[in-house]
Symmetry: C2
DNA sequence: GTTAGCACTCGATTCTACCGAGTGCCAAGA
DNA sequence: TCTTGGCACTCGGTAGAATCGAGTGCTAAC
């Protein structure tokens, strides 16, 4: 069972009676399938409540008044609203993935190997192929992991490279362009001191830099300051987006497609969006629930990935509000679990 | 003046007479502007050849017969063919960028700093904002630069990370999972030996690995093999694509948009496409000239970037065949020059 | 070679009619 | 009170006809 919105839906525990719920569900299912407004006759036929279309109709009037359904225009069928989808999703029995897909995912994680980045990128591609939706895979932020090793390498006498290895296996590099010209020996010594200084610390830690004025000390100081100067916006978050071309299929209207694509280009935005949704304790954000206007015709499914029980990224799927929630949610959940396992097993190697 | 196709157009030096050329150009310009078929009257009015529409018409018949123009249907105006665009581009006086844009580019390169990757990514975003087309920036392949430093770091006793720094400032990391369990001291020693072994070599070089059977030797062997196992497909090429959302504006027809986007997702494909075009000595590939069916409604503009006179990547722009060649080519050229300078100046720091 | 004149083509636009899916309402039945 | 069949009504979508007009190709005269 999926998590529920905490605040919004609390006020609205007005659980619909069984029949209304069935009707709503029928409308949602049908509309997801056909992308067309759904009429009373179709509902009466599909759902196995033995009532006439007329009855369905009068119920639909109520559902519309309560905000679960909407009519594109008089004399058209009904279409679910965001609220309608929300009810549907909240009452969705957690779906089970098809046999074939289960296997596909397992096979993928059996065969995948290599660096975290590679795995995450591959995963995002796989997930999008699996679901036909655009996928988002957010990797762990390494801002809290400690430094395992630092090395200052000189490219030329004025231009050095500071390579840092973190305990989570990530590596960063930073240019260091000191004001002074350092000899090879001095660089090596600075590198040694940096190691002594930084190993075991995190980027948040304050370290005691030498205040002397010799070349080595200057190198050390400048290196540390470059390393610590990481903007909180960058934060080492990594995000991989798979199947952005799916956006073109999922939405009609060039303008919508353009808007969504241009959001996806701004990776920081995507990360914070996913993070927001997770923070709200949701697993799906429908329409305007995430309060992000340009994506108001989208639904975003997220599932957290953990390492040692700590949140360490997430996988997500982005589609139209009329997406196939059951399958997509199941896929996201299963993949996130596999990913969590994958990382846990790597640890186990120890 | 732009470069010309070498083989194709050699056979076809049938330079159009002045009037035909003028008419062709007028059609191209107008169609680029309006996206509509262009009629004889419009041409007669726009181009400053003092002839009647009737004359233009009879010329257009010839141009059509010779394959420069096409008619969507009888009684519509003419539309340029790929060949028509090709002629237009080949006879385009190299455009000059607007003042504002010149400034924008200069400012960008004045303020940009940091790692190569960052610069290239930023550049791709800037270029796409500048032109309103999707941009492609291909970074230098580091497969031929030599190794400056190697370091083996152990994450845990069974899981090591091999971090390699290359002379061009790029850094790679590789997981090394040896069959044996090595002590901290052994890892350090292996790291030392790897440095001695690899510094100054390139990835193509063959190195003499120790054949002994102790832990250190095994670590060294496995590290070298992991490092050298880079698939030629990956090759360390890096590509940055900016403004993929522009695709949605540039093409009509969902299917086209989807196709183009899905090509852009396959970065290796993009790199080889750009490379192909450069290898052909072209600066623009129009329609099917690049022999790549899914992009047959696109034009691709490329401009090489060099370091020390050696090819080191390229910048590109992708748009519809009816793109604003003059401006876009100028932008690509100017940006590629700036980029070339940017890298040259970094060297100068030495 | 150029051009005015003219008949012709054919996509795009507009208008009309009309079909039909679907509604809301009501009155009769359970 | 709830359900349901009946019925008038709405209104988007489609099909067809009429029309418009941009643009052509051709021809005959300059």
């Amino acid at each position: 069972m999926s998590r529920r919105a905490s605040s919004k839906n609390e006020t609205d525990t007005s659980d619909l009676d069984v029949r209304k719920a069935t009707i709503l569900q029928a409308v949602v299912v049908e509309h997801i399938d056909t992308a067309q407004p759904v009429g009373s006759t179709a509902v009466a036929a599909s759902a196995d409540l033995d009532v006439s279309p007329a009855t369905v109709r009068s119920e639909m009037v109520t559902l519309e008044r309560e905000g679960y359904l909407a009519q594109p225009h008089t004399s058209a069928g009904r279409v679910p609203t965001d609220k309608g989808y929300r009810y549907f999703v909240d009452h969705l029995k957690s779906g089970v993935l098809g046999e074939a897909q289960q296997v596909q995912i397992s096979d993928f994680f059996k065969s995948v190997r290599g660096e975290v980045e590679g795995v995450l990128e591959q995963t995002s591609i796989m997930l999008s192929q699996l679901t036909n939706y655009t996928s988002v895979v957010v990797g762990p932020s390494h801002s809290h992991s400690s430094i395992l090793s630092v090395q200052l390498v000189n490219l030329d006498s004025r231009h050095h490279l500071l390579v840092t290895v973190f305990s989570d296996g990530s590596v960063t590099k930073h240019s260091v362009l000191p004001t002074i010209e350092a000899s090879h020996v001095e660089v090596t010594e600075a590198s040694r001191q940096l190691n002594a200084l930084l190993i075991g610390t995190t980027l948040d830690s304050r370290v005691q830099v030498p205040s002397r004025d010799d070349h080595v000390a200057i190198l050390v100081r400048e290196s540390v300051s470059v390393l610590h100067a990481q903007k909180p916006t960058t934060d080492g978050e990594q995000v991989f987006i798979g199947g952005s071309s799916r956006v073109a299929e999922a939405f009609d209207g060039v303008e919508t497609v353009r808007k969504v694509l241009s959001i996806l280009e701004q990776e920081l935005l995507v990360v914070s969006l996913v993070q927001d949704i997770l923070d709200q304790g949701l697993s799906v954000a429908i329409g305007s629930e995430h309060g992000f206007e340009p994506l108001s015709s989208c639904a975003v499914i997220v599932a957290p990935v953990t390492i040692d029980g700590e949140p360490a990224g997430a996988v997500g799927l982005l589609g139209p509000t009329r997406m196939k929630y059951r399958e997509a949610m199941a896929a996201a959940r299963v993949v996130s679990e596999h990913l969590t396992n994958h990382f846990a097993n790597e640890e186990d190697h120890a």
